[in-house]
Protein backbone atom coordinates (compact mmCIF):
# COMPACT_ATOMS: atom_id res chain seq x y z
CA UNK A 1 0.00 0.00 0.00
CA UNK A 2 1.50 3.30 -1.09
CA UNK A 3 1.41 6.60 0.70
CA UNK A 4 -0.66 9.21 -1.10
CA UNK A 5 2.32 11.46 -1.85
CA UNK A 6 4.12 8.58 -3.57
CA UNK A 7 1.29 7.53 -5.87
CA UNK A 8 2.19 8.11 -9.50
CA UNK A 9 -0.32 7.80 -12.30
CA UNK A 10 0.64 7.36 -15.97
CA UNK A 11 0.47 10.61 -17.93
CA UNK A 12 -1.81 9.06 -20.51
CA UNK A 13 -4.35 8.20 -17.86
CA UNK A 14 -4.28 11.75 -16.51
CA UNK A 15 -4.70 13.17 -20.01
CA UNK A 16 -7.67 10.91 -20.67
CA UNK A 17 -9.22 11.87 -17.34
CA UNK A 18 -8.76 15.54 -18.29
CA UNK A 19 -10.57 14.84 -21.54
CA UNK A 20 -13.48 13.40 -19.59
CA UNK A 21 -12.96 9.74 -20.46
CA UNK A 22 -15.14 7.96 -17.95
CA UNK A 23 -12.97 4.88 -17.48
CA UNK A 24 -9.88 7.02 -16.89
CA UNK A 25 -11.64 9.12 -14.26
CA UNK A 26 -12.82 5.97 -12.53
CA UNK A 27 -9.29 4.55 -12.64
CA UNK A 28 -7.93 7.74 -11.03
CA UNK A 29 -10.48 7.37 -8.26
CA UNK A 30 -9.52 3.75 -7.67
CA UNK A 31 -5.83 4.69 -7.51
CA UNK A 32 -6.12 7.71 -5.24
CA UNK A 33 -9.25 7.41 -3.11
CA UNK A 34 -8.08 4.90 -0.44
CA UNK A 35 -4.86 6.77 0.38
CA UNK A 36 -6.63 10.14 0.23
CA UNK A 37 -9.28 9.00 2.66
CA UNK A 38 -6.61 7.42 4.88
CA UNK A 39 -4.77 10.73 5.12
CA UNK A 40 -7.90 12.80 5.76
CA UNK A 41 -9.17 10.29 8.32
CA UNK A 42 -5.89 10.55 10.28
CA UNK A 43 -5.80 14.35 10.08
CA UNK A 44 -9.31 15.17 11.23
CA UNK A 45 -10.19 12.11 13.30
CA UNK A 46 -13.96 12.29 13.00
CA UNK A 47 -15.52 9.92 10.49
CA UNK A 48 -18.39 12.16 9.35
CA UNK A 49 -16.10 15.15 8.89
CA UNK A 50 -13.54 13.03 7.07
CA UNK A 51 -16.22 11.88 4.63
CA UNK A 52 -17.23 15.47 3.84
CA UNK A 53 -13.65 16.58 3.34
CA UNK A 54 -12.89 13.51 1.24
CA UNK A 55 -15.81 14.28 -1.06
CA UNK A 56 -14.70 17.89 -1.33
CA UNK A 57 -11.11 16.87 -2.07
CA UNK A 58 -12.05 14.38 -4.78
CA UNK A 59 -14.39 16.86 -6.46
CA UNK A 60 -11.66 19.50 -6.41
CA UNK A 61 -9.28 16.99 -7.93
CA UNK A 62 -11.50 16.48 -10.98
CA UNK A 63 -12.50 20.13 -11.28
CA UNK A 64 -8.89 21.34 -11.30
CA UNK A 65 -7.10 18.42 -12.92
CA UNK A 66 -6.12 20.67 -15.83
CA UNK A 67 -4.00 22.71 -13.40
CA UNK A 68 -1.80 19.74 -12.54
CA UNK A 69 1.50 20.42 -14.28
CA UNK A 70 3.06 17.01 -13.76
CA UNK A 71 6.12 18.27 -11.89
CA UNK A 72 5.78 15.51 -9.30
CA UNK A 73 3.58 12.52 -8.54
CA UNK A 74 -0.15 13.19 -8.89
CA UNK A 75 -0.57 11.84 -5.35
CA UNK A 76 1.56 14.66 -3.95
CA UNK A 77 -0.63 17.22 -5.68
CA UNK A 78 -3.76 15.56 -4.29
CA UNK A 79 -2.16 15.46 -0.86
CA UNK A 80 -1.71 19.23 -0.98
CA UNK A 81 -5.41 19.66 -1.77
CA UNK A 82 -6.45 17.30 1.03
CA UNK A 83 -4.14 18.85 3.63
CA UNK A 84 -5.28 22.37 2.73
CA UNK A 85 -8.93 21.40 3.08
CA UNK A 86 -8.34 19.63 6.39
CA UNK A 87 -6.41 22.55 7.85
CA UNK A 88 -9.02 25.05 6.66
CA UNK A 89 -11.53 22.95 8.51
CA UNK A 90 -9.42 22.71 11.66
CA UNK A 91 -8.78 26.47 11.68
CA UNK A 92 -12.45 27.36 11.53
CA UNK A 93 -13.60 28.47 15.01
CA UNK A 94 -16.98 26.77 14.63
CA UNK A 95 -15.52 23.47 13.67
CA UNK A 96 -12.81 23.82 16.26
CA UNK A 97 -15.38 24.33 19.02
CA UNK A 98 -17.41 21.36 17.81
CA UNK A 99 -14.36 19.13 17.53
CA UNK A 100 -13.34 20.11 21.04
CA UNK A 101 -16.78 19.13 22.35
CA UNK A 102 -16.59 15.83 20.50
CA UNK A 103 -13.08 15.22 21.82
CA UNK A 104 -14.21 15.86 25.38
CA UNK A 105 -16.93 13.27 24.99
CA UNK A 106 -14.71 10.73 23.25
CA UNK A 107 -11.69 11.02 25.52
CA UNK A 108 -13.10 8.64 28.12
CA UNK A 109 -13.44 5.82 25.62
CA UNK A 110 -12.06 6.71 22.21
CA UNK A 111 -14.18 4.58 19.95
CA UNK A 112 -13.07 3.91 16.41
CA UNK A 113 -15.48 3.65 13.54
CA UNK A 114 -16.12 0.25 12.03
CA UNK A 115 -14.42 1.39 8.85
CA UNK A 116 -11.09 1.82 10.60
CA UNK A 117 -11.52 -1.16 12.90
CA UNK A 118 -12.23 -3.60 10.06
CA UNK A 119 -9.45 -6.10 9.43
CA UNK A 120 -6.84 -4.44 11.59
CA UNK A 121 -4.54 -6.25 14.00
CA UNK A 122 -5.06 -5.33 17.65
CA UNK A 123 -1.71 -3.52 17.92
CA UNK A 124 -2.67 -1.25 15.00
CA UNK A 125 -5.91 -0.39 16.76
CA UNK A 126 -3.86 0.71 19.76
CA UNK A 127 -2.00 3.18 17.59
CA UNK A 128 -5.27 4.36 16.00
CA UNK A 129 -6.78 4.85 19.45
CA UNK A 130 -3.71 6.68 20.68
CA UNK A 131 -3.96 8.97 17.68
CA UNK A 132 -7.67 9.49 18.30
CA UNK A 133 -6.93 10.53 21.87
CA UNK A 134 -4.98 13.60 20.69
CA UNK A 135 -6.54 17.00 20.17
CA UNK A 136 -7.38 17.67 16.49
CA UNK A 137 -4.54 20.15 16.09
CA UNK A 138 -1.93 18.00 17.83
CA UNK A 139 -3.01 14.99 15.78
CA UNK A 140 -2.67 16.89 12.52
CA UNK A 141 0.74 18.27 13.50
CA UNK A 142 2.17 14.92 14.61
CA UNK A 143 0.88 13.20 11.48
CA UNK A 144 2.19 15.84 9.11
CA UNK A 145 5.60 15.90 10.83
CA UNK A 146 6.22 12.24 11.55
CA UNK A 147 4.46 10.52 8.67
CA UNK A 148 4.11 13.00 5.83
CA UNK A 149 7.55 14.52 6.40
CA UNK A 150 6.51 18.17 6.71
CA UNK A 151 9.01 20.50 8.42
CA UNK A 152 8.03 22.73 11.32
CA UNK A 153 8.26 25.70 8.98
CA UNK A 154 5.85 24.10 6.52
CA UNK A 155 3.42 23.15 9.28
CA UNK A 156 3.56 26.66 10.74
CA UNK A 157 2.87 28.12 7.32
CA UNK A 158 -0.02 25.73 6.68
CA UNK A 159 -1.64 26.58 10.00
CA UNK A 160 -0.87 30.30 9.69
CA UNK A 161 1.00 30.13 12.99
CA UNK A 162 4.59 30.26 14.25
CA UNK A 163 7.25 27.58 14.21
CA UNK A 164 7.10 27.40 18.00
CA UNK A 165 3.39 26.59 17.72
CA UNK A 166 4.27 23.57 15.60
CA UNK A 167 7.05 22.49 17.97
CA UNK A 168 4.91 22.82 21.07
CA UNK A 169 2.03 20.92 19.49
CA UNK A 170 4.41 18.15 18.48
CA UNK A 171 5.93 17.98 21.97
CA UNK A 172 2.45 17.79 23.47
CA UNK A 173 1.45 15.03 21.07
CA UNK A 174 4.62 13.05 21.82
CA UNK A 175 4.03 13.36 25.55
CA UNK A 176 0.47 12.16 25.23
CA UNK A 177 1.37 9.26 22.93
CA UNK A 178 4.19 8.25 25.25
CA UNK A 179 1.78 8.16 28.18
CA UNK A 180 -0.54 6.03 26.10
CA UNK A 181 2.09 3.49 25.12
CA UNK A 182 4.23 3.32 28.24
CA UNK A 183 2.28 0.52 29.94
CA UNK A 184 2.08 -1.38 26.63
CA UNK A 185 5.67 -1.01 25.45
CA UNK A 186 6.04 -4.75 25.05
CA UNK A 187 3.45 -4.83 22.21
CA UNK A 188 4.58 -5.97 18.79
CA UNK A 189 4.84 -3.98 15.62
CA UNK A 190 1.74 -3.61 13.43
CA UNK A 191 3.53 -4.02 10.12
CA UNK A 192 1.71 -6.29 7.72
CA UNK A 193 3.11 -9.81 7.87
Amino acid sequence: MAKLADIEVPEGLIASARDGVESARAALYAALAPATFGLIRRLVGTQAVAEDLFQDTMMTLYEHLDRFRGDGPLGRWVRRIAVTKCLMYLRSPWHRARLQLAADVELDSPELPALVVAARPAECLDVERALASLSPTARAVVWLFEVEGYSHEEIAQAFGRTVSFSKSQLARAHRRLREWFEPQSERQSCSPV
Binding site: T36, W94, S189
Partner: protein, 205 residues
Protein backbone atom coordinates in the same frame (compact mmCIF):
# COMPACT_ATOMS: atom_id res chain seq x y z
CA UNK B 1 9.60 15.53 1.83
CA UNK B 2 10.73 12.27 3.37
CA UNK B 3 9.60 11.24 6.86
CA UNK B 4 12.19 11.83 9.52
CA UNK B 5 13.17 9.23 12.04
CA UNK B 6 11.43 10.47 15.19
CA UNK B 7 13.29 13.66 15.92
CA UNK B 8 11.99 15.35 19.05
CA UNK B 9 11.13 19.04 18.90
CA UNK B 10 14.51 20.02 20.36
CA UNK B 11 16.28 18.22 17.54
CA UNK B 12 18.08 15.71 19.77
CA UNK B 13 17.88 11.97 19.15
CA UNK B 14 15.14 10.51 21.32
CA UNK B 15 14.57 6.74 21.20
CA UNK B 16 11.01 6.95 22.51
CA UNK B 17 10.06 9.61 19.96
CA UNK B 18 11.63 7.47 17.26
CA UNK B 19 9.60 4.48 18.40
CA UNK B 20 6.40 6.54 18.39
CA UNK B 21 7.08 7.84 14.90
CA UNK B 22 7.76 4.29 13.74
CA UNK B 23 4.41 3.11 15.14
CA UNK B 24 2.60 5.90 13.29
CA UNK B 25 4.36 5.15 10.02
CA UNK B 26 3.48 1.49 10.29
CA UNK B 27 -0.22 2.26 10.14
CA UNK B 28 -1.67 1.29 6.77
CA UNK B 29 -1.79 4.47 4.66
CA UNK B 30 -4.98 3.41 2.92
CA UNK B 31 -8.47 3.28 4.39
CA UNK B 32 -11.42 2.09 2.28
CA UNK B 33 -13.22 5.22 1.04
CA UNK B 34 -16.77 5.79 2.32
CA UNK B 35 -18.28 5.62 -1.17
CA UNK B 36 -17.37 4.46 -4.65
CA UNK B 37 -16.81 6.27 -7.94
CA UNK B 38 -20.48 6.04 -8.97
CA UNK B 39 -21.59 7.70 -5.75
CA UNK B 40 -19.03 10.49 -6.16
CA UNK B 41 -20.41 11.14 -9.63
CA UNK B 42 -23.94 11.24 -8.28
CA UNK B 43 -22.92 13.75 -5.60
CA UNK B 44 -21.01 15.84 -8.12
CA UNK B 45 -24.07 16.00 -10.37
CA UNK B 46 -26.23 17.03 -7.43
CA UNK B 47 -23.81 19.85 -6.66
CA UNK B 48 -23.11 21.04 -10.19
CA UNK B 49 -25.13 23.96 -11.53
CA UNK B 50 -27.79 23.06 -14.12
CA UNK B 51 -27.80 25.07 -17.30
CA UNK B 52 -31.50 25.75 -17.64
CA UNK B 53 -33.61 28.92 -17.82
CA UNK B 54 -35.09 28.07 -14.42
CA UNK B 55 -31.61 27.83 -13.08
CA UNK B 56 -30.81 31.30 -14.41
CA UNK B 57 -33.76 32.72 -12.45
CA UNK B 58 -32.59 30.79 -9.46
CA UNK B 59 -29.09 32.23 -9.82
CA UNK B 60 -30.52 35.74 -10.07
CA UNK B 61 -32.41 35.21 -6.82
CA UNK B 62 -29.31 33.84 -5.24
CA UNK B 63 -27.31 36.82 -6.38
CA UNK B 64 -29.86 39.22 -4.92
CA UNK B 65 -29.87 37.39 -1.62
CA UNK B 66 -26.13 37.15 -1.59
CA UNK B 67 -25.89 40.87 -2.25
CA UNK B 68 -28.34 41.49 0.60
CA UNK B 69 -26.24 39.37 2.92
CA UNK B 70 -23.04 41.13 1.96
CA UNK B 71 -24.72 44.53 2.23
CA UNK B 72 -25.79 43.76 5.77
CA UNK B 73 -22.22 42.69 6.45
CA UNK B 74 -20.95 46.06 5.27
CA UNK B 75 -23.67 47.83 7.29
CA UNK B 76 -22.66 45.87 10.37
CA UNK B 77 -19.05 46.93 9.83
CA UNK B 78 -20.03 50.59 9.52
CA UNK B 79 -22.16 50.38 12.67
CA UNK B 80 -19.34 48.73 14.55
CA UNK B 81 -16.93 51.44 13.43
CA UNK B 82 -19.36 54.11 14.58
CA UNK B 83 -19.86 52.35 17.88
CA UNK B 84 -16.16 51.97 18.57
CA UNK B 85 -15.49 55.57 17.60
CA UNK B 86 -18.31 57.45 19.27
CA UNK B 87 -20.52 55.00 21.09
CA UNK B 88 -24.22 55.12 20.31
CA UNK B 89 -27.24 56.55 22.04
CA UNK B 90 -28.58 54.22 24.68
CA UNK B 91 -32.07 52.95 24.00
CA UNK B 92 -34.60 54.54 26.32
CA UNK B 93 -36.16 51.93 28.56
CA UNK B 94 -39.94 51.90 28.68
CA UNK B 95 -41.42 53.41 31.81
CA UNK B 96 -42.92 50.12 32.86
CA UNK B 97 -39.99 47.99 31.84
CA UNK B 98 -39.20 45.10 34.11
CA UNK B 99 -36.05 45.74 36.09
CA UNK B 100 -33.64 42.83 35.90
CA UNK B 101 -31.14 42.41 38.71
CA UNK B 102 -27.62 42.29 37.35
CA UNK B 103 -24.35 41.17 38.85
CA UNK B 104 -21.86 44.00 39.37
CA UNK B 105 -20.24 44.71 36.03
CA UNK B 106 -16.46 44.55 35.70
CA UNK B 107 -14.48 47.77 35.61
CA UNK B 108 -14.80 49.15 32.12
CA UNK B 109 -13.69 52.06 30.02
CA UNK B 110 -17.13 52.19 28.44
CA UNK B 111 -19.82 54.56 29.58
CA UNK B 112 -22.72 52.90 31.41
CA UNK B 113 -25.00 53.53 28.45
CA UNK B 114 -22.63 51.72 26.11
CA UNK B 115 -22.50 48.73 28.39
CA UNK B 116 -26.27 48.49 28.65
CA UNK B 117 -26.60 48.71 24.88
CA UNK B 118 -23.96 46.09 24.28
CA UNK B 119 -25.93 43.42 26.10
CA UNK B 120 -28.46 42.78 23.29
CA UNK B 121 -25.62 42.53 20.80
CA UNK B 122 -23.79 39.98 22.93
CA UNK B 123 -26.98 38.01 23.50
CA UNK B 124 -27.80 38.05 19.79
CA UNK B 125 -24.29 36.89 18.97
CA UNK B 126 -24.60 34.07 21.48
CA UNK B 127 -27.82 32.92 19.80
CA UNK B 128 -26.23 33.28 16.37
CA UNK B 129 -23.26 31.23 17.50
CA UNK B 130 -25.53 28.40 18.65
CA UNK B 131 -27.38 28.51 15.34
CA UNK B 132 -24.14 28.49 13.36
CA UNK B 133 -22.90 25.51 15.37
CA UNK B 134 -26.07 23.65 14.44
CA UNK B 135 -25.73 24.25 10.68
CA UNK B 136 -24.29 21.46 8.50
CA UNK B 137 -20.50 21.26 8.37
CA UNK B 138 -20.07 21.77 4.67
CA UNK B 139 -23.26 23.79 4.30
CA UNK B 140 -24.86 24.71 1.03
CA UNK B 141 -22.27 27.38 0.22
CA UNK B 142 -20.89 26.73 -3.23
CA UNK B 143 -19.99 30.21 -4.48
CA UNK B 144 -16.33 31.00 -4.26
CA UNK B 145 -16.88 34.65 -3.29
CA UNK B 146 -19.17 33.71 -0.42
CA UNK B 147 -16.89 30.91 0.66
CA UNK B 148 -14.04 33.43 0.84
CA UNK B 149 -16.16 35.90 2.82
CA UNK B 150 -17.18 33.18 5.27
CA UNK B 151 -13.62 31.92 5.64
CA UNK B 152 -12.38 35.45 6.18
CA UNK B 153 -14.98 36.10 8.88
CA UNK B 154 -14.21 32.80 10.56
CA UNK B 155 -10.50 33.58 10.54
CA UNK B 156 -11.14 37.01 12.02
CA UNK B 157 -13.28 35.48 14.76
CA UNK B 158 -10.53 32.95 15.46
CA UNK B 159 -7.99 35.80 15.70
CA UNK B 160 -10.33 37.61 18.04
CA UNK B 161 -10.53 34.49 20.22
CA UNK B 162 -6.75 34.32 20.33
CA UNK B 163 -6.53 38.01 21.23
CA UNK B 164 -9.11 37.56 23.97
CA UNK B 165 -7.13 34.65 25.41
CA UNK B 166 -3.94 36.68 25.39
CA UNK B 167 -5.62 39.69 27.00
CA UNK B 168 -7.21 37.56 29.71
CA UNK B 169 -3.91 35.85 30.48
CA UNK B 170 -2.25 39.26 30.76
CA UNK B 171 -4.99 40.35 33.14
CA UNK B 172 -5.79 43.18 30.78
CA UNK B 173 -8.17 46.03 31.52
CA UNK B 174 -11.80 44.97 31.50
CA UNK B 175 -12.55 47.71 28.98
CA UNK B 176 -10.11 46.29 26.47
CA UNK B 177 -11.56 42.78 26.89
CA UNK B 178 -15.06 44.19 26.56
CA UNK B 179 -14.18 45.98 23.32
CA UNK B 180 -12.79 42.75 21.88
CA UNK B 181 -15.89 40.84 22.99
CA UNK B 182 -18.10 43.38 21.22
CA UNK B 183 -16.06 43.25 18.06
CA UNK B 184 -16.21 39.46 18.12
CA UNK B 185 -19.98 39.56 18.68
CA UNK B 186 -20.36 41.84 15.67
CA UNK B 187 -18.33 39.49 13.50
CA UNK B 188 -20.41 36.51 14.65
CA UNK B 189 -23.56 38.46 13.84
CA UNK B 190 -22.26 39.27 10.36
CA UNK B 191 -21.25 35.69 9.73
CA UNK B 192 -24.70 34.46 10.75
CA UNK B 193 -26.30 36.90 8.31
CA UNK B 194 -24.13 35.79 5.40
CA UNK B 195 -24.70 32.12 6.18
CA UNK B 196 -28.43 32.64 6.54
CA UNK B 197 -28.67 34.49 3.22
CA UNK B 198 -26.78 31.68 1.52
CA UNK B 199 -28.97 29.01 3.07
CA UNK B 200 -32.10 30.83 1.94
CA UNK B 201 -30.71 31.15 -1.54
CA UNK B 202 -29.83 27.45 -1.62
CA UNK B 203 -33.34 26.43 -0.61
CA UNK B 204 -35.11 28.45 -3.28
CA UNK B 205 -36.71 26.21 -5.90
Amino acid sequence: MQPRVGMPPEGEPDPSARALAQKLRELPPEVPPPFDWAELQRRARARAPRASPLRRVDLTRRTVLLAAGLASLVAAGVLLGRFLENGWEPARPAADAVTVARAPAPRSDFAPGDRRDAEPLLERAETAERWLASTPDSGPIVRVSTRLAVTDLEDRIASMDDLLNVERMRDARAGRVRALQLERAQLVDSLAQVRYAEMLAAELP
